[in-house]
């Protein structure tokens, strides 16, 4: 295995009622930011959750630094998880804990027991400052007292306070207005640049993904349809990639071409299909 590969998905399969992932292969390098795009329900979040064992694949494996997530002991998996932080779609802050306690949950439990309270407070405050929040204003508040954008930023602070080697972002800007989306995207970029953390970002925000990522992947029908640099993504002739890149006119033309080819290949063209429908 390439020593620079930090996360490796090997032939990952998962089905619920229908197949969701049908053989995903992806290697993410150390310090790299990879964004995963795809239409809703294509299994982007499922793929992300397999990374730390929140969802178990039916087949295939996920390795972090060469160590299999699914062949680890329970303690081994716990140790693996401590090097990875997951930023949830709606932050998933603990309702009954205040912001200080929520961010403190991002620290290693063993570390909390030995850490001087003042040092711990300083680290929590520093991580809040890093996500543009004023510690004095938010530390004692409950998550319900914060806006959606602030909750997302607290989720980011919880992710970075423990200085992880890997951060997984599950739709970090979903539900945010453009200003807050841009703020969160910039934070993801600055965290990656400052800490050299390896990041996987599942997102619908194509522009944000192209701006912040070293590579962009497109998940479609359970497999990776495209993986490449943002420039390669922009230049791709794949109709679905073009649709995602918002080159609507080109995509529509390409899709029309595909439909036309499909009908040419089949004697039962649209007119025939309609006539069958009428008879039935």
């Amino acid at each position: 295995m390439d020593p620079e590969v930090t996360i490796e998905y090997e032939n990952v399969h998962k089905r619920f009622d229908t197949p969701v992932l049908s053989g995903v292969n992806l290697s993410v390098m150390r310090g790299e930011t990879v964004s995963i795009l795809g239409t809703s329900g294509t299994g982007k979040s499922v793929l992300l959750k397999t990374t730390i064992g929140l969802i178990t694949p039916d087949r295939g494996d996920v390795r972090i630094d060469g160590e299999s997530v699914y062949h680890s002991t329970r303690l081994g998996l716990r140790d693996l998880r401590r090097t990875v932080r997951y930023v949830f779609q709606y932050a998933a802050l603990f309702d009954s804990l205040n912001i200080y306690e929520n961010v403190a949950m991002g620290l290693d439990p063993a570390e909390i027991k030995t850490l001087d309270p003042q040092v711990m407070l300083d680290r929590i405050a520093a991580s809040l400052v890093n996500v543009n929040l004023e510690p004095a204003k938010v530390l004692s508040k409950l998550p319900a007292e914060l806006s959606g954008g602030m909750r997302k930023r607290v989720g980011l602070a919880r992710a970075i306070v423990g200085e992880p080697r890997i951060i997984l972002y599950d739709e970090p800007v979903t539900g945010l207005d453009p200003v807050n989306s841009a703020t969160v995207n910039r934070l993801i970029m600055s965290i990656a640049e400052r800490t050299k953390v390896t990041s996987i970002v599942v997102t619908h925000d194509v522009e944000g993904a192209l701006e912040m990522s070293h590579r962009v992947a497109l998940l479609d029908n359970g497999t990776l349809r495209f993986i490449g640099t943002p420039d390669e993504f922009r230049r791709s002739e794949d109709p679905l990639v073009m649709a995602f890149a918002d080159r609507r006119a080109a995509a529509e033309a390409a899709l029309k071409l595909i439909e036309h080819d499909a009908y040419d290949d089949n004697d039962a063209g649209p007119a025939h299909a309609i006539s069958i429908g009428v008879r039935a």
Binding site: L54, R85, Y86, Y90, L93, F94, D95
Partner: protein
């Protein structure tokens, strides 16, 4: 099949709770917080049901015994009914409604809002963190609540017998002592201990397996309450042949 799966999952949860306790991974602070919530929070309702149980048993017993059976036997009937049956079972029903439903809804909401996943992703095991404190607290608090319910039920039975049947405290206590077995109190508290385990463990399990948003929380809370009521009644029916023969 679904029932067998629940039983299997609850068994695994129980083993993991025991392991978490054995490994010292359960926060005493959380146990005390849960014990306070379950115990002090439920006390007023437990007292109300205990008072009403004592009054009803005393009055109905008095109505049946007023012809040929000596009235002092009413003391025995009230004490036995309250201690053996009404104290533990009525307290269990209060805890199902007040504690069990709340636990399922609370943990179910955490599950559907990904807070349980967040806990796991942060390297915390939900069993020592969420399940064990609630179950341990239930096992500590329920026997205490049942003890209080028993005392209050018998006392209000005594007061009610005097007020409505004219049976004085001496006669009531004479009757109560005449057929009293110390084993009955142990039986009552043992039953409470089992209820104190089954109610939180079922409610935690149903919370942890919740999915499907707000509808899923509502559905699982209802299922959890039904499951707990049936389990309490089955345990209640199992106790006499095992411990009263």
């Amino acid at each position: 099949m679904g029932f067998a799966r629940h039983v299997g999952q609850i068994s695994v949860l129980t083993v993991r709770i025991v392991m978490a306790v054995g490994q010292g991974g359960v926060s005493l602070k959380s146990v005390f917080a849960q014990a306070y919530e379950q115990g002090i929070g439920s006390l007023p309702l437990v007292l109300v049901t205990a008072v009403l149980s004592g009054i009803v048993t005393s009055q109905q017993g008095g109505y049946q015994f007023s012809s040929s059976i000596p009235l002092y036997v009413l003391g025995s009937v009230v004490a036995s009914s309250v201690v053996l049956e009404l104290g533990p079972v009525m307290t269990a029903f209060v805890l199902i409604g007040r504690v069990g439903a709340r636990i399922t809804a609370e943990i179910g909401t955490m599950a559907v809002s990904e807070q349980v996943d967040a806990l796991i992703s942060l390297g915390r095991d939900p069993v020592p963190y969420l399940a064990a404190p609630r179950v341990i607290a239930g096992m500590i608090v329920t026997p205490i609540l049942v003890g209080v319910a028993n005392a209050v039920g018998v006392l209000t039975g005594l007061v009610s017998a005097r007020a409505t049947m004219g049976l004085g405290p001496e006669g009531f206590l004479y009757g109560a002592r005449l057929y009293w077995h110390s084993w009955d109190l142990f039986y009552s508290l043992a039953k409470a201990f089992v209820f104190g385990f089954t109610i939180p463990v079922i409610s935690v399990h149903m919370g942890l397996i919740t999915h499907g948003g707000a509808e899923g929380v509502g559905r699982n809370t209802t299922t959890s309450v039904v499951f707990m009521i049936i389990t309490v009644l089955v345990v209640d029916a199992t106790f006499p042949p095992l411990f009263l023969n």
